[in-house]
């Protein structure tokens, strides 16, 4: 019922081995034979049996991209970029079928004979039903759950995936860290290329081809410095889920800036944790403020809304709110407005990521731009081995402060800060 290699071989009057060689394009085959085989493939509408092929070759063309939340543009942009790089034959191959007029014609297999620069491996394209050297890049939605992350990794391992890209922050639970780490090592041992994107390198990251980390800390620090420079001192922070690295790094950057300015709980400029209890003097508000002005939530609009309401309740005098990301910032804006406050006159708001909609917010959102597309694309290339990994396998990707309308100096009549 389903047509196999043998059928094609029979039709083309060659052996199955030859058909295989033509299809994989990695072995010399006489042009005439090749034509015949290709024609038989078209006529029979043959489609390679992936599982069989993978089994025999001990490799597959599956590339997995793990994301926390596919509905979040942050991941959509990153994953889409990676997928673009992976989908394209890219380095060395051709894109197939340049020949037959693609506009409206391309009735199908007929007008070939061209097969432009069919160099080596990449050949066939899908228009007629065949598909060749392409990788099947797929994105898997973990929903932020470490268990699902592990499950997907196992599933991918089971498929003998060619590569795996993990995007977004990691969960810091040491048990999960270890589990993920072990799993990645096994994947790497089995020949799967592992790339981290927007996630800090893991301890003993030999298993990983490359880790692309965003400068979350630096970006957050510069953002808060901007607020401080405007004159804000009572700055609320709507953080993400406490256990994620992204959350921690952004929060640390924020606090670094605060402390360097003599605000917050720690020694100026320090980044160490310590000193949780206020010492009662020294020109700072003490650590209690640091805690009081931070609220954790999810990376979504609703959380931003709720957390901001809470922040406003705890400290009605805040003059600025820094959100974990742009989506959260949007929720924060809604909460602020609902309280009858204006942005930025009464309260400044800042986000993180610079997602496409941020520039359209009213007022436009001050945020920190992360080159998501570029990072995703690079991760894709790295996964495909189309780009050489950075030295040490680790690269930090810059974060750029984008000052826009949602931040401004605090009102002059705002309660005078204590210092």
């Amino acid at each position: 019922m389903t047509v196999t290699l043998a059928d094609v071989a029979a039709r083309a009057r060659v052996s199955a081995a030859t058909v295989s060689r033509v299809l994989n394009g990695n072995y010399p085959v006489a042009e005439a034979t090749r034509e015949r085989v290709l024609r038989a493939v078209d006529e029979l509408d043959y489609v390679l049996n992936g599982p069989a092929s993978s089994l025999a070759a001990a490799t597959s063309d599956l590339v997995g991209i793990l994301v926390d939340d596919i509905a979040d543009p942050f991941f959509g942009i990153t994953a889409g970029a990676a997928q673009t790089e992976i989908g394209e034959p890219g380095a060395g191959g051709d894109a197939g079928w340049a020949g037959a007029g693609s506009g409206s014609g391309r009735t199908g297999p007929s007008g070939r004979a061209t097969s432009s620069g069919r160099t080596g491996a990449s050949g066939r394209t899908g228009a007629s039903g065949r598909a060749g050297g392409e990788k099947l890049s797929v994105v898997c939605n973990t929903g932020g759950s470490p268990e699902r992350e592990l499950t997907y990794l196992t599933l991918l391992q089971r498929q003998r995936a060619a590569a795996v890209i993990l995007t977004g922050g990691a969960v810091e639970d040491p048990v999960h860290q270890a589990a993920i780490s072990a799993k990645l090592t096994k994947l790497a041992d089995a020949g799967t290329r592992v790339v981290l994107c927007g996630r800090p390198p893991l301890a003993g990251g030999e298993a990983v081809v490359a880790a692309l980390a965003f400068d979350n800390r630096g970006g957050a620090r510069r953002l808060t410095e901007h607020l401080l420079a405007l004159g804000h001192t009572r700055i609320g922070y709507v953080a993400g889920p406490a256990e994620r690295t992204t959350t921690r790094h952004r929060l640390e950057g924020h606090r670094d800036a605060m402390r360097a300015a003599g605000l917050g709980g720690g020694p100026g400029g320090g980044l160490g944790g310590g000193e949780r209890d206020g010492d009662g003097l020294g020109g700072t508000r003490g650590a209690c403020d640091e805690e009081r002005l931070t609220v954790h939530g999810l990376y979504d609009r609703r959380s931003g809304y709720a957390a901001t309401l809470e922040l406003l309740r705890r400290e009605p005098e805040v003059t600025a709110i820094v959100a974990a990301n742009d989506t959260v910032a949007l929720g924060a804006c809604a909460a602020i407005r609902e309280r009858g406050l204006r942005i930025p006159e009464d309260v400044s708001v800042a986000g993180f990521d610079d997602l496409p909609f941020s520039v359209d917010a009213v007022p436009a959102l001050t945020t920190v731009r992360l080159p998501l597309y570029e990072a995703g694309a690079r991760a894709g290339r790295l996964a495909m081995g189309k780009e050489t990994p950075p030295p040490g396998g680790i690269a930090t990707i810059g974060a750029e402060l984008m000052v826009r309308g949602s931040t401004a100096p605090p009102r002059v009549d705002a309660a005078t800060p204590e210092r």
Copy 2:
């Protein structure tokens, strides 16, 4: 080097077949044996070889979800919902094995010490590195390109995917329609369950398990009726790519409403195409206006921005702009503001989809709500055979008008409409 079924069998002192049965959980196995096998699996850290398994069983656990643009929340939400349904072992029992005396009590459900809810077939979890009955649901980004859509379909076909979900509008080019249709038929013939979500059923859709179509036309009509009721008559329309069904349906709904109100080019209330050239009288502005007040672009912010600028240039007197979707509406808002106009005082703006950020726009966006999550989840269940298809395999999903702040009556001093 890699551990196989035989290794596990040897360690557990059983045959490979028994190990297979334990792993698939679809055949009676003595509890003691099962324990032994499971332990061996853990000790050896065994992971099933997917390709080999798929080859032998002639099925795979891969489920593909095709989307136009993964960076667009419209698709992210839909795909994420579908993936959630597919990922969960869920109810409904798994497709194949109702036969083997599983009527009430699954094979050997008796209390195993460990792992709480290890229910019958779905067994093993990922935490330890094993993964069982789960499907690997993956989303594939076509970028709106019919070629890539076909390529992905072929790739999925090659993997013998268990199911495929196509989301979003279809491209209307008859050649591609036919190609897709043919491909879907082949997939279905090979046992792949095909589900359409947010896409109209295709001609001769026997191949498809179910088609979930949004009521784009009705939603668009009600939206425009809302604008007309407010008193608008000069309404600009920023449409999506001309060749997509979603674009056409929304545009048709809009024009239906316009014509029913005696505006636009056709006979009142008609939905037929005809009458492209204005007849010069009859109380309507004629078809030329219909064309003049419509600009096509992509479904993104930038296009919305550019198209709106163009619309404002063509007809400075427009009092309302309807956008193809919310993202486009955001761009439209930016353009309008840049022109020094206020929303909604000078120009009303409306979108479509009701994405999460729309309620946070300022002013909040009037739009048409599509139950994306629900639709995606339903598509996922349909793909898994967990839900019975609607009668005829076709269901239309309602679209609800959401009136918010971005639409208001036109200014009274606006140029008086001619009628």
